[in-house]
């Protein structure tokens, strides 16, 4: 037998087991590795080991004011059930398996070796009731269980009890053979940790490739298993935050914030919910496991579902009747049914589908009026928004307008809100004619057709002539009602009428100059036509006002108004009237020019702007906002985008500390939240704290600084326009530096619109931050493609790494 080949085969088999372990815990990236890469990974088993240098004197290092960010490791169901997850696997570690002085010789394995695993194989680290209780225990599982003793097995495993496979910790996991007189098991206390070591065993009957195994248990539930040069670091799954994303399990369980803790929808209705207000839709992930997000059009007691759907599994998802959801997924999904046949499932674009079981709200009657809702058993209530002049009161299910005595004209169209299950559905109530409450108050109104469009652009006609930009022949009507004998005067208040000409009705056929006055006797309608080019050369800049003056010299009411110009303007950062792509939560202003239905005195004909703002949804979507008036409507299409990634724009660094030292500098990274053509002023960004990886040399064992969560991570930072400043720093690093060292904080970021919960960036990009110490004391920090370095001769440099 070729013992060398067999030995290599054994080690490769160990690595294969580790790979299988990876696959089981759901390291998706590893699953996707092509076969040649997997083979290459296996070949690492025969690679050269590196002697891991352990540092001395690290306890004297002062706490380092490090800051930056962290990791979100999504745990699998298996991880949660057994209580720990694999953090890293190294294949070239050097671990000492030789029993040191002070260790406890548990026994020679020629006696305790037990292929059949039977025997009184208990290692006790000081349980209560033993001769020397230590109080030491090891928490295992996502409950409060902790253990001071374990049953051990010859194949490098331990369990709390002999048959508790669910909480097994395994260093090797394949049969080993004890060698009479050579194999032994020893245990020792190493600080707060407890170490159990299988020394000098053989795999199966092979006596040519000795195998060692070791399990190191930390009282915080973390542990490390080693077998020859393979070292696996495992972290306890926090019982309160299974996936370690900083969001407690109850919130993770909230489907809005689920990011991997659960498969399938939570489907837990709030306490006291009206079950009649909910229905279900059935959705299946037709491709791989997929994150499915239901983004509703408003808050409700029942949060919007968001969950990971296992491939091929039908998920019954509860939705709130009447609420409109935009459903998106990262892999293909298919809707296969709905409990309520009235549910509308409409594919929109890409992987987005609109899902809604509509609610119909109908107003009947003028004043008073009634409102009916279908389905009728939603158990909601009505709220009415304040209108310009009226309020609506309810009595026995009947609603009535109550208007003020000085109510202006134009009527009331109060908007109502039907609220149920914490959700509000807006609708337009019936309008009332408020004028009946006004005695001897004149009413003047203008209408225009076509409304809002009073020019046509330069264009070529069929005869080849180019027609310059000009106004169309638009009809303006001034209606005056509820008047006695008096005078109506029409003004051009734009002051920049340019080449516009005004005509009276075609009956009169005359060109008039404004102001134009005419005597009236009772209600009258005056029709004007406008043509020509507006002087301002802008859209819809004609402004007309009318004044009614009664015959008894009592000033009447004046309506100053005309054609509306509606425009949009982004509100944050750099106001922009053209931009229609907006960031989540960004506000956009809608402006009228001039003001609509403006009632002013005759001596104060002032045309002012009126505007309102809307905030965009907190998720990526397409948005159409329609402004309607006088029977015409003008839709505005917007695209709302979420932050996609981060990019370092510039980096600077400084140091104010003593000279000729290592470290002690601060770097400032200006980070842009992409895409940069929108404003993300409404969002906040934070780095998610994680424990360092790639720890080596000087920094080994410095647990305080290795946990990014202790050093500035997990804090929200506001965004200005779309940039913010990230500070990275390191304190002075005392010598000796001769062994050098490094470590890396794995960093992913989360974002939120200020009042929301955290969301991950779409691809969970890594923006790792690496700290490096050279043996000559040079210290550098690498992050986002930049390197900040300080030499002990006080030279501080910032360079951009090559791609």
């Amino acid at each position: 037998m070729d013992w060398h080949l067999l030995g290599n085969g054994v080690v490769i088999f160990e690595c294969a087991l580790i790979l299988a372990w990876f696959s089981r815990i759901g390291v998706k990236g590893l699953r996707k590795l092509p076969v040649p890469v997997l083979i290459a990974f296996l070949s690492l088993a025969s690679g050269t080991s590196i002697v891991a240098q352990k540092t001395n004197g690290v306890n004297s290092l002062p706490p380092m004011p490090l800051r930056s960010a962290p990791v979100v490791e999504t745990v699998s169901e298996d991880d949660v059930s057994r209580g720990w997850r694999v953090e890293s696997v190294a294949t070239n570690e050097t671990v000492s398996y030789t029993m040191p002085p002070g260790a406890v010789h548990v026994g020679n394995w020629h006696v305790h070796g037990a292929r059949s695993s039977f025997g009184n194989n208990i290692i006790d680290f000081g349980s209560a009731g033993t001769p020397r209780p230590t109080g030491w225990s090891f928490p295992l599982g996502t409950n409060s269980a902790a253990f001071s003793s374990f049953w051990y097995f010859v194949d490098g495993r331990i369990r709390p009890t002999p048959k508790d496979a669910a909480h097994e910790i395994c260093a090797v996991g394949v049969p080993m053979s004890a060698v009479p007189g050579k194999s032994r098991l020893w245990a020792m206390a190493d600080g707060d940790c407890r170490v159990l070591t299988w020394e000098n065993f053989f795999l199966g009957g092979d006596t040519n490739a000795p195998v060692n195994a070791q399990i190191r248990l930390s009282p915080n539930g973390d542990f490390t298993t080693s077998s020859n040069e393979v070292k696996t670091i495992c972290r306890r799954v926090n019982p309160d935050d299974w996936d370690g994303d900083g969001i407690p399990n109850p919130d993770d369980a909230n489907p809005m914030f689920c990011d991997g803790d659960f498969f399938g929808p939570a489907n837990v209705l709030p306490e006291g919910a009206n079950t009649n207000a909910y229905c279900t839709v059935s959705v299946v992930a037709t491709g791989p496991d997929s994150l499915i997000t239901f983004a509703g059009d408003g808050p409700s007691n029942y949060p919007d579902p968001c969950f990971i759907a296992k491939s091929g599994v039908t998920n019954e998802v509860i939705i709130l009747i009447g609420k409109t959801y935009q459903v998106s997924s990262d892999f293909p999904v298919s809707f296969v049914g709905a409990s309520d046949p009235a549910t509308e499932i409409v594919p929109l674009r890409g992987s987005v589908t609109r899902v809604c079981r509509p609610v119909e709200i109908t107003c009947s009657g003028d004043n008073p009026f009634t409102v009916s809702v279908f389905p009728a058993n939603l158990n909601g209530s009505f709220l009415w928004n304040a209108s310009n002049c009226c309020s609506i009161v309810a009595s026995d299910g009947v609603f009535e307008f109550q208007c003020l005595s000085d109510c202006g004209c134009g009527g009331c169209n109060a908007t109502g809100s039907y609220r149920y299950e914490g959700y509000g559905m807006s609708f337009l109530g019936n309008g009332c004619g408020c004028n009946h409450n006004q005695a001897n108050v004149a009413s003047l109104s203008f209408s225009a057709s076509p409304i809002a469009i009073l020019f046509e652009p330069e264009h070529a006609e069929a005869n080849g002539l180019t027609v310059p930009r000009r106004s169309t022949f638009s009809r303006l009507a001034c209606d005056v009602s509820n008047v006695d004998c008096g005078m109506v005067t029409i003004y051009d208040v734009s002051g920049t009428a340019g080449h516009l000409k005004f005509h009276l009705s075609t009956v009169d056929g005359m060109v008039v100059s404004l102001p134009y006055s005419c005597q009236v006797d009772g209600d009258v309608a005056i029709v004007l036509f406008a043509e020509g080019v507006s002087h301002g050369m802008t859209t819809n800049d004609i402004r007309i006002a009318a004044v009614y003056e009664s015959a008894d010299d009592v000033l009447g009411e004046e309506v100053a108004l005309t054609v509306m110009e509606i425009s949009t303007r982004t509100r944050s950062g750099h106001p922009n009237r053209q931009r229609k792509t907006l960031g989540v939560g960004e506000e956009v202003m809608f402006s009228w020019k001039p003001r609509l239905w403006d009632v002013v005195s005759v001596d104060d004909i002032v045309v002012s702007y009126d505007e309102y703002a809307i905030g965009t949804p907190h998720f990526a979507t397409s948005l159409v906002h329609t402004v309607s008036h006088g029977g015409a409507s003008l839709p505005f299409d917007f695209s709302v985008v979420e932050p996609q990634e981060l990019s370092a724009v510039s980096v600077s660094a400084s140091t104010n500390g003593p000279s000729k030292v290592a470290g002690d500098f601060v770097g400032f990274i200006t980070i842009s939240v992409l895409p940069s053509n929108v404003s993300f002023e409404a969002i906040q960004v934070k780095e998610l704290g994680a424990v360092a990886t790639n720890v080596f040399g000087y920094f080994s064992g410095m647990d305080d600084i290795l946990d990014h969560g202790n050093k500035g991570a997990n804090k929200w930072h506001g965004i200005g326009w779309h940039e913010y400043e990230d500070m990275v720093s390191i304190s002075q690093v005392p010598p000796p530096w001769d062994q050098g060292g490094h470590f890396t904080w794995p960093i992913t970021n989360a974002w939120r619109v200020t009042t929301d919960m955290a969301k991950h960036f779409p691809h969970r990009q890594k923006y790792d931050q690496t700290f490096e110490l050279d043996p000559d004391g040079t210290v550098r920090i690498r992050k986002m493609g930049y390197v900040i370095q300080r030499n002990t001769n006080d030279v501080l440099t910032v360079v951009q790494e090559e791609e």
């Binding site: 006696v111 070796g113 292929r115 059949s116 039977f118 025997g119 709390p160 002999p162 004890a178 009479p180």
Partner: protein, 163 residues
């Protein structure tokens, strides 16, 4: 009392398990332990157990092992759930034996283990599970150790004796 002596090698040692039910005057001769196929010298054998649980008063596992100080012998009892004729750890319920000079009994279902004396493991009627149908005997130790096994007949309805 019947006394058996010798055994020059653990690997080639034989073990006799006698099962007697005085009321029925039954006796079962246990086959010898097979040679160990492993470097750690472990040898084991399984003995089918057929007990009329309804008539059982108590069952006693008695083990005497001369080289207990440096070796190990144990008897485990349980139900052969997969029917393969071998009592695995997952199938075993109780274990009793001597480990490097210390007698112990262990409830493998709960992981509770406690010190015992060498007088045997008595399983009362209430403790006996009618599904138990297999006894496994395991011995480990270096070669060239002398050992002897004594068989005691207890005043119970059912005895298992190991040689």
């Amino acid at each position: 009392m019947v006394q058996y002596t010798q055994m020059k090698s653990v690997v080639t040692a034989t073990c006799l398990l006698l099962v007697s039910v005085p009321a029925l005057a039954a006796r079962v001769d246990v086959p010898s332990l097979p040679p160990s196929p492993y470097a750690d010298t472990e040898a084991a054998t399984n003995i089918p157990l057929r007990v009329n649980a309804a008539a059982l008063q108590s069952l006693t596992l008695s083990v005497s092992f001369g080289s207990c100080e440096t070796n190990e012998v144990l008897v485990a009892i349980g139900a052969d759930g997969d029917g393969d004729g071998d009592l695995s750890l997952d199938e075993a319920a109780l274990a009793y034996g001597c480990d490097c000079g210390a007698w112990y009994r262990a409830d493998l279902r709960t992981g509770a283990a406690s010190a015992a004396d060498g007088s045997g493991l008595s399983i009362g009627r209430d403790e006996f599970d009618p599904s138990w149908n297999l006894v496994k005997v395991i011995r480990r130790g270096l070669a060239e150790v002398g050992e002897s096994v004594s068989v005691d007949v207890e005043k119970v309805r059912f005895d298992i004796r190991i040689r």
